[in-house]
């Protein structure tokens, strides 16, 4: 893999990568594209990482910040889960799913709530990291749920009386099981997606298309693997 991603230009493209469970597969992806030293990010505290030979710059930021950086053009491209994209609703291009980081956004609760008619509850509280999608999901059914917006450990909420239900991502369902929660409904399925700033796409079309083509070639491999394994091994 000696040929540079950006042989077409002297200027670098900047890529925003999400911290957390998607980071490792993202780094593997770009390693496969020839960014040899990129795994160094994992043991470094630097927020900006340069791969001058490939003409790429990387920044590692919180997943919910990735669409913001890309919309404003602070990063030309980014990788982030479709769940975050749907929650954030930013004005960006989302040209391709990458086939890794597959998981589902589900409604879950204690087993006894599964057969209950939620419309009959005079009050329903839902804890989540996805307030917009959660509100939308319940309003569509005519339920004005109280959405408790948390930034992590959502599964704790029903156990300590903070909420009746949770809306969260699941991969294997282990976190739900260990916290005595069962899945009630699925809101959406998600995977890692490539996103592109609109102006960058217009102004640097050739370089970005070239990069996207190479990413597509590498991710075919991911897609083949994940369809064999039927999902990832990490839990969300």
């Amino acid at each position: 893999m000696k040929d540079s991603i950006l042989i077409l230009s002297k200027e670098t493209l900047s890529v925003a990568l999400p911290k957390g469970r998607l980071l490792h597969p993202c780094l593997e992806l770009f390693q496969d594209l020839g960014c040899a030293g990129l795994m160094g990010i994992l043991s470094s505290r630097r927020l900006l990482w340069e791969e001058p030979e490939q003409g790429l710059n990387f920044m590692v930021i919180r997943p919910t910040d990735v669409p913001i950086y890309v919309e404003h053009g602070a990063a030309d491209l980014g990788i982030v889960g479709r769940d975050v994209l749907c929650e954030e609703q930013r004005d960006i291009y989302e040209p391709m799913g990458l086939g890794f980081g597959r998981c589902r956004l589900v409604v879950a609760g204690p087993p006894e709530i599964r057969d209950e008619n939620l419309h009959l509850r005079h009050r329903l509280r839902v804890a989540t990291k996805y307030p917009r999608l959660t509100r939308q999901h319940f309003l569509k059914q005519g339920i004005s749920a109280e959405v408790v917006s948390l930034s992590g450990s959502v599964e704790l909420a029903p156990q300590v009386g903070l909420a009746d239900l949770v809306v969260d991502m699941v991969q294997t369902g282990r976190t739900l099981r260990e916290n005595n929660l069962v899945e009630i409904d699925e809101i959406m399925s998600s995977e890692a997606c490539l996103i592109v700033n609109r102006a960058s796409h217009k102004l640097r079309l050739k370089e970005i298309n070239h990069l996207m083509k190479r990413i597509a070639d590498v991710t075919k491999k991911f897609k083949a693997q994940s369809s064999k394994l039927g999902g990832g091994e990490l839990d969300g």
């Binding site: 053009g73 040209p95 799913g97 217009k202």
Partner: protein
Amino acid sequence: MSYKGPFKAALPCGVRDLFLEDAAKLSKLMATWRQLFESWAYTEIIPPTYEHYDVLMAGSDADFERKIFRVLDREGNILALRPDITTQVARIVGTKLHGLPLPLRFYYLTNVFRFEEPQAGRQREFYQAGLELIGAPGPEADAELITIVIEALQWVGLQGFQINLGQMAFFRAIVAELDLSPAQVEELKGAIDRKDEVGLRKSLREWEISDRHATALGELPHLCGSEEALERAASLAPNAGACRAIENLSRVYDLLSARSLTEHLVIDLGEARGMDYYTGITIEGFSPGLGFSICNGGRYDELIGLYGRPLPAVGFALGVERVLLALEEQSKQEVDLAPHLLVADEAASAGRATLQRLRHRGLRVEVDVMARGEAGLLGYARVRGIPWVIVGGDEARALLAPSTGPWSFGPGTKGSGRCTADSQRWVNWGTLEEMLAR
């Protein structure tokens, strides 16, 4: 240091105060464009800041309606702060301007209001400089508009900008032939807007769209480039309407090519976005280093008909603050606000006629109204960056001093920068005028 008095400094979200350099830069840009637009024989139109909500909303989609500032007046009427000028021009032309020779050419330089999150380069109140060319249906009108957009950006010194030309009629002609629900059309548009080719092709397969239409729609997100993109689009066009749309765009491109303007142009059929009222070519401008567009426009042949007699029209709007950001990115657009000359009060009376002539020539002449002495005048001039000071004078002569070096300090002044007599000189008012007017 900010003043911590009892006064209230808070601003509501989405507006800002403009003063000094920022205000001057915005005004300078607008003045340049006013001159350009008038040189192309456009005349100014000044619609009101607010109107009846339902009148203003006649041509817009639900998404846009959410961005309108609504106000109730005391009689309970719902009013809207204008979110764009084009709709107002359409109302004025459709309802009032009958019997005038066509085409009509209007320009505007004004503020608009949209209730959205303040973004880079755009608050909730922001400025637009735009044109509307009304009554001309052909590619010549489109080409005129695009030529002026390019000149507007060239006149203010912006480099490396790019104008993407789309054609809404191509998408519309293809979709018109398919039996799709409005929701399905929205889904198609959404996929095209996200450049989500996989999702787009999946929908087309699921809905069993015929091969010719599906191929054309499926390739839309990537129909970008120069002539080759036009040729490809022409070969994909599944019906006469789509063919006409591409022919029209080709004709516009040829006209601009004959004017050697194609270095700024990119054919871009991969957009289904923009105002819902666009029916033909669309224009979107970008500048290197800026993550959002700097101007938008297009042909809207059906909007004026909502208000009266139907008339074809094409227009664009430049985002004034965004162009300023693009210029800033290129370190352009310097403004100098410092006066050229500071004059002591009594000298200003003596040399009144000369100073008036200098002002007529465009020089900024400030008269001291603070009764400053010589040292005070020179100190103030240095801080303000005023190069010349008249510290005294009579009917015949002025005592002129440069406010900046070379400096020789008199004894006992302790580096206070007081000018010694030898760098001052007496000059006739006539000589002074010749010297400064240069």
